[in-house]
Symmetry: D5
């Protein structure tokens, strides 16, 4: 029932990505890689472009970490392309935009706003096994922070790579980690 630790559900969506023809993305396409699903309410609106731009600045680094990025709204791929063609901020972005006009992804991740038809401002990090490891949602009007997202993905990758170690609060790449053991119980 918990979100964290659950496997993502089936989906199929048409994507727009700069320099490519429209293409389909399904849950199978993301297997074997880390993926970020970055939901936002609507094309052509206000906070969204700043968040999308903020995330765009980390895209090269995330790719180098083996992380694919999918921006998702309930707009169509046609609308995504039109936005990309006409907005300077959005026109620079290199990652894919999924058209979720069927609401499949928004419902799968539980972020469709009741009575509105738009997605929440929600981020999900999925590991190469299709399991959700990190999530975050902020209310309308509160922008997310790509820096912090990147920090948490690094920690999750570290933990996956180093069984037996855990990353303390506000851990940054390179900082010390902890190795739980019986003797540590009640001692931290």
């Amino acid at each position: 029932m918990g979100i964290i630790g659950s496997t993502i559900k089936l989906f199929k969506a048409t994507a727009f990505q700069a320099g490519k023809d429209f293409f389909e993305v399904t849950n199978e396409d993301i297997a074997g890689k880390w993926a970020v699903f970055f939901f936002y309410p609507a094309d052509f609106t206000f906070v969204c472009p700043t968040e999308l731009e903020d995330l765009g600045e980390k895209y090269a680094m995330l790719q180098s970490m083996g992380v694919e990025v999918y921006a998702v709204s309930t707009d169509t791929h046609f609308s995504h392309k039109a936005w990309h063609d006409t907005s300077e901020k959005i026109g620079k972005l290199q990652y894919a935009f999924l058209g979720d006009q069927m609401h499949t992804l928004s419902n799968n991740f539980g972020v469709l706003r009741d009575g509105v038809g738009l997605a929440d401002r929600a981020t999900f990090v999925v590991d190469p096994d299709g399991v959700i490891q990190i999530m975050e949602i902020t209310c309308e009007g509160v922008g997310r922070n790509a820096n912090e997202l990147t920090r948490k993905i690094k920690a999750a990758q570290y933990v996956r790579a180093h069984p037996g170690e855990v990353c303390p609060a506000a851990w940054e790449e390179g900082a010390e980690t902890l190795a739980p053991s019986l003797d540590l119980v009640g001692k931290i």
Copy 2:
């Protein structure tokens, strides 16, 4: 159905807080104030104290912002007190710990791990109307970041106080905000 924008459910829990006798906290007690519910898996374990300490360092500031903090695990209030008495890190903390051995809060917020009986590493920010505005969950082994939490609460408070303005990505207190209008549609 969505978590963000929903009102918190009824609960009643016994709390331990430094310098007080045990006391009851219910959903009614938190009305009219901002509240943070900071879930963690278990007393006497590893990542938890670093996160609780990290949050502890922001407690004074959060209080000055009108935000109350509740740490929650499925341990009892007896166990919370015992941990406070015996751990140096925990012993310094001034905010309240709720005993959720009934699993009410963990189930209410959807963060009880199936087949484990422990809560996720999850944070929820509730506004004075009892509405959840911000949430975050990280997998086992990935510590949260009280700095980022504080940044988002400030943004949420700003937005509540200034209808008609929204905070862009990675906004910090004092930075510029946006004022959506018809003319801005498709222009950012």
Copy 3:
């Protein structure tokens, strides 16, 4: 169960119309007037603009006949405005566009394409009592004809105004009508 003769269901949608701020349209707003609901699949696509332009050329006449026109797709009002801002053909149109990203209207009129999230190319004419009198749907790739639509609305208005008369096939304004009576049974 039949569509013709049924009353339209409740709806509420945000509209974009040239020269106005966004505004809400509900089933109550259309009471007392004739209305055309002109569904099309998506903003920024191909056949749609020719149909919308063709209909645009009749808009003045339809208004003079007391008929309001609503173009509807599952895009948002933000997207409608962006399309209006960037497309020459669409930019000239004066009637309202409804954002149906909740799929309410498309479902109400039974024209949401299964597994696609887009509306059919469908037209509905609603009389001042909110009753559907005329409908038409064409498959993908076949454009409608605003001329014929206008002809049928005139006939429906004539019949409403002249109880006891009916308009024969391909009737044009001013042509003769028929007055059914017992004696005519089996005589035409």
Copy 4:
């Protein structure tokens, strides 16, 4: 759930056609050809004959286009023949009339008027795969237009024959069509 794009349901009806003995028509008989189902309320009534005559004038052309025509009412084939024998207008018609006294076809196509037992004034165009591609219904008293029907069938046949092209609004045979492509998105 949508009508357009759905496959016609099973039916079996007895037909009358000038110059033939009564014969059965089923959904299997129409496979591989285009078909028009032309519903009307009742034999021996008023608007109906003008519409049936109007359609009769296009019958030769429709046959040359590979389109079969079936007029349908809830009368029996006996009644159809008697009407054909005694009405000058109807006596000239060469296409088949289906007896739908069981209401099967009227229910299959959703056009049986509640509490009346008569069909709507409804037209359905079915392609050689048995899929409904075009439909139209007008209220009592408003006659249809065989000219426009023919125009739409030509467009649907053109689109079927030329994958990748679509017919704009009010397209007439021989006029230009459109070829959708990524580059056209947002450009019409």
Copy 5:
């Protein structure tokens, strides 16, 4: 559950009768009189006119006995009028024809042929209280006999008028009847 002795169900049908405009007949209209419901399969067919003519010859007598006659088929009142206008045999008939294209009467009396949409060749005699007293059905191809029908109605009227008497087999008007009593038990 038995038919004989049951009260007729609600119905409403449009009637054609020579020399009158179309009119409605309901179950309430027949209260207080004897009524014959004379079902037949279809207008313009074969056995039916001979039966209807045979019944027509008794109509004056039946009226003088206070018995109203309703011929019923699943054709419309339009079809009934057209048949009356064009058939010599039917054109002479003075009783009413009910249009049962909704199948209400045929279903009420249990005589709608499965998978055909036509009524059985069935007769029902209803007394002034709306109770069915006599019924008869014959298979396709076997004509009824108005003489015998009249004989039975006379017997039923006699029995209603003379409580305590019963009419023996093949009783004809004026013949002797029986008066049951304890002493007759086992003595006939």
Copy 6:
């Protein structure tokens, strides 16, 4: 659902017939022959013997036509025998009486009077395939007519023997029949 054209249901009953020991009759015994089921309310009562006697006079003729006759009431076979032994009228009858104290036959044919436990005065003619072809029920106090019954059986046998012909109203053996054809539609 209609009675005419339906196949008789399973039954098993003990029969009394003059000059034989009691014997069982089931639905299988009547296969391959025409059969008349002649229901009447009760042994030792009033109208019944006149009807049974009237039918008795046709029994030889019916047998020569290949028709078997079964009188049926809800009395036992013991009671049937006792009646036969003690009543002059009944004592002459040669056909079989079925004991239906289980109500199986009365229920099968739908003629058990509610709240009484006695059968209606009902006749059913079953063809060699076990299909009901003719039925008749009269109310209490109205005797049937074996003459008319015989006339109808002859017509039903004629129609079965001469596919393509039908017997008009009040047809008697040897009279003319009709041969339906397309050309006759609307011509009688």
Copy 7:
């Protein structure tokens, strides 16, 4: 659930009794008196008359004891009268016979033989409050004994009249009874 001690259910039956016209008997008619319901399989059969005759010899005595007797089979009251008229043994009987062709009484007392439609050979004694006090059933072929029945009714009447006393095994009128008390427990 037990039979003894339960109140008899509602019934209504037509009775035959020597020297009277047919009359109705219901559960209300037996209130305030003792009653014997004496079921037997069928009129005109074998063991039954010996049992009925045996019971007939006690009828005067039973009446003097305030006990009414009802013989019951699934035959009609007509049949009961006919049997009474024609059988020497039965003709002498003075008590009432109930016609249970509806099977109401046989079902009420649970003695209808499955798949047969005849009652068991069963006796029930009902007290003036309508409560069953004594019952007995024997299989086919085993006759009952009116002597023993009378003995048991006398004992039941004695016990009702003398609260605090009970009749030992095989008690006969006038013999000693027992008066239970605490001191007798374990002492007999």
Copy 8:
């Protein structure tokens, strides 16, 4: 549904019998023999011992007839033994007592008194096929009669041994029986 003619249900009970250790009795143990189940309310009470003693006097004869006897109450086998040890009347009895503290037998035979937990004063005779042939129940305070019971068992054994013969009312061993035949119907 009827008791007579039904097969006894499964049971298992612990028995006490003079001169034996406790032993189990099940439905299988009684197969192939006649059996009497003699229910009574409770050990250590009043009428019961007189009935049990009365039956005890017939036990030798019943055994010689191949009939086994089981006394049954809802007491335990421990209680049965204690009663046998302490009561003079009971101490003489040689047949088995079944402990029915589980209420299985009392429920199987339908004689558990509602809201009391004690069995009725009921007797059942079961034939060697396990089929109940004779039953009897008397109310509290009315003792049974072992003489009459023996008479009925002899009749039932006679009927079983002599197919085609039946025992008249109050038949005693050696007396005449009846042989039913068609000719006897209505003649006794």
Copy 9:
């Protein structure tokens, strides 16, 4: 769901107690007093009398403490009296025995052995509010200990009388108790 802390259910039973006539005991009779329900399998058996005797020795003391004692088995009150009359050990006992042949109490307290019809060797202590405070069950063959039972009842009475104090393990009357407080948490 838990037994301890639940209120006892409704019951009604007949009791035997030395020197009294049989009397009824219900749940209402025990209100306002402490009560012990002492279940045992069966009268006249083995371990039971030793346990009942052991409890008997404490009866005077328990009465002086305001505690009433009820021994309960599924035997009747008749059997209880007989046992009391014939057993030396049982004959000395002064407390009441309840007859639970209906199994009401055994089921209420959940101690009826499946498939046996006897109660467990179970003890329940009920406080003056009808709430179960202490319970104990031992398997067949293991006797209870009235000493320990008395100790626990004293502790329960002490705790009820002294809110804020608790009795440690193996506490005996007069020994020290504990007074829980925040400061004691984790300190014992």
Copy 10:
């Protein structure tokens, strides 16, 4: 349905035991040995440590008797260890503590307090076949007695080892036992 005699249900729990790493205990681990499940409300509380200490004093003896001991509360194994580390009384205990934060064991044994999330003060003794033989629960504030528990386990082991013998009330090791037999019935 009874607890005594039922087999324990499936469980899996993490255990803390002095001198060992955390380990899992399941229902399979306890097969083949006697086991005591000793539930208590919460770590760091008041009565509990006195009971746990009291039991600790018997642990060596119980082990020598082949009995394993499991203390169980709804605290985690982390909390159990922390308590052991910090409490003098608890720190001496050598038996295992199971973490039941999932409430599985508390629910399995029916001792979870409604609305509290803590276990009752309950003891269960399970034999080597996994069958519960002895149980005891006391209310809050009443401590158990390890002496009496040990006495009962010895008795249960004796009975298991000596079929045919039973231990009387308050039996102590070495004291006399009873051997039930038919002759003893009613004699103790």
